[in-house]
Amino acid sequence: MKNLFSIKDKIIIVTGASGGNGSVISDGLEELGAKVFRADFPKCDVRNPIQLDMLVANAIQHGGRIDGLVNCAGVSYVNDLFEYTDEDWDNTYLTNLKAPYELSRKVAKHMKKNGGSIINMTSLNSELGFPNNPAYVSMKGGLKQLTKSLAVDLGKYNIRVNNLGPGYIKTNMTKGSWKNRRKEIEDRTIFGRWGEPEDLVGTVIFLLSSASDYITGQDIYVDGGYLVKGMK
């Protein structure tokens, strides 16, 4: 692809960088010459605002600015609704919704001068209900709307904020579904296959590059057609 899609020398923060999607995305960005600052648990706990400050300070100190942020960190606790614990609810809130909110605000302060691009990793759960995970479904729904709020507030600084919603991607987080519902999910996609983390990389690059300069506040689903398919 031509220079339009270049992310060479861009300074990018990726959270959840040790996870299945986050690590492949970080590697993919580095391969194309971006400087990636990886926030990985437990070294950087995104629930802790002080550690977020340190993450941002580190990127500014070594990169001089921040061009992109990929909020990829997320947790998911599956449990029966009536057994669902406050702790799991709170942890999901802090990691999946509060952290992107806090970190986006902290990063955006540094992006005001030159603009930038923020990507929030939403989910099929931002659109649909799934069983036994009230916190995850709620926070991913909230994250979808957080993006729109940020897009409106940050547009005047040329900071773009968009959602990337992966479908079922083969990672550690989806291993339960892979084990129990592999075929059902496969059949529900239009392409008849699960996604790989590699399927997400192109869209992340596109949203970080100047090729997407006029896209903000949008949801892009990389789901092999899961949402669209609906009934067979």
Partner: protein, 234 residues
């Protein structure tokens, strides 16, 4: 890669032609009224064809002679007139649907048998498909909403051949349509509603089209991707 693009001589289509030919793709432009503009784009890897995309015989003949190809971009479209519904002419309604909706159907009807497996179809929709459009523009807006839906139907139908079908839905972009229908005052009032504070450039749209033409988007299908500076967030 061999590309067919309708309405490729001007505006967003022209920008797509420039972007895709610059990365080595072979382009076939379909135009109807813009001969002067089309001829200027002709080059070693850009061919031009005059086809009325609302005429079944012409579309059929085009595909009978063109051979196999990789990418179809259904970009031709436009608004015929604005008017309140009680005054809207049935003739204009039908023309709008022929231009924006039937054309996509015909290009697919005759293009699908010859597009290669693993190819891409990209339909250019409009923000009005979701917003309802400008006052008096019901025909245009609803004809584009049909395109959004056709995109999803086609994505299902063609997935077994690994063909991705997506729509690109631009917001405000200054093209011939606005030149014809929008006063300066109205156009400026639209821009005031855009969080990024500017209208879209045709290159903004062609960048997204170029991404959807690439292998980097192979797991994206059946999507309508909005590109509007934040003017509308679904």
């Amino acid at each position: 890669m061999r590309v067919i693009i309708t309405g490729g001589a001007t505006g967003i289509g022209k920008s797509c032609v420039e972007s895709l030919s610059s990365i080595g793709m072979n382009i076939n432009i379909i135009y109807f009224s813009s001969h002067g503009e089309a001829i200027k784009l002709k080059s070693d890897n850009v061919n031009i064809h005059k086809v009325d995309v609302t005429d079944e015989n012409q579309v059929k003949y085009f595909f009978d002679t063109i051979g196999s190809f990789d990418i179809l971009i259904n970009n031709a479209g436009g608004n015929i007139s604005f008017n309140s519904t009680d005054k809207y002419l049935l003739e204009d309604w039908n023309k709008t649907y022929e231009l924006n909706t039937t054309s996509v159907f015909l290009m697919c009807k005759y293009g699908i048998p010859v597009i290669k497996d693993g190819g891409k179809i990209i339909n250019i929709s409009s923000i009005s498909a979701k917003s309802g459009g400008a006052e008096g523009g019901m025909a245009y807006a609803s004809s584009k909403a049909a395109v959004d839906c056709m995109t999803k139907s086609l994505a299902k139908e063609l997935a077994s051949r690994n063909i991705c079908v997506n729509a690109v839905s631009p917001g405000v972009v200054y093209t011939k349509q606005h030149e014809k229908f929008s006063s300066e005052e109205y156009y400026n009032s639209l821009i005031e509603k855009i969080p990024l504070g500017r209208d879209g450039k045709t290159s903004d749209i062609s960048n997204l089209v170029t991404f959807l033409c690439s292998d980097e988007s192979n797991y994206i299908t059946g999507q309508v991707i909005e590109i509007n500076g934040g003017m509308l967030m679904k």
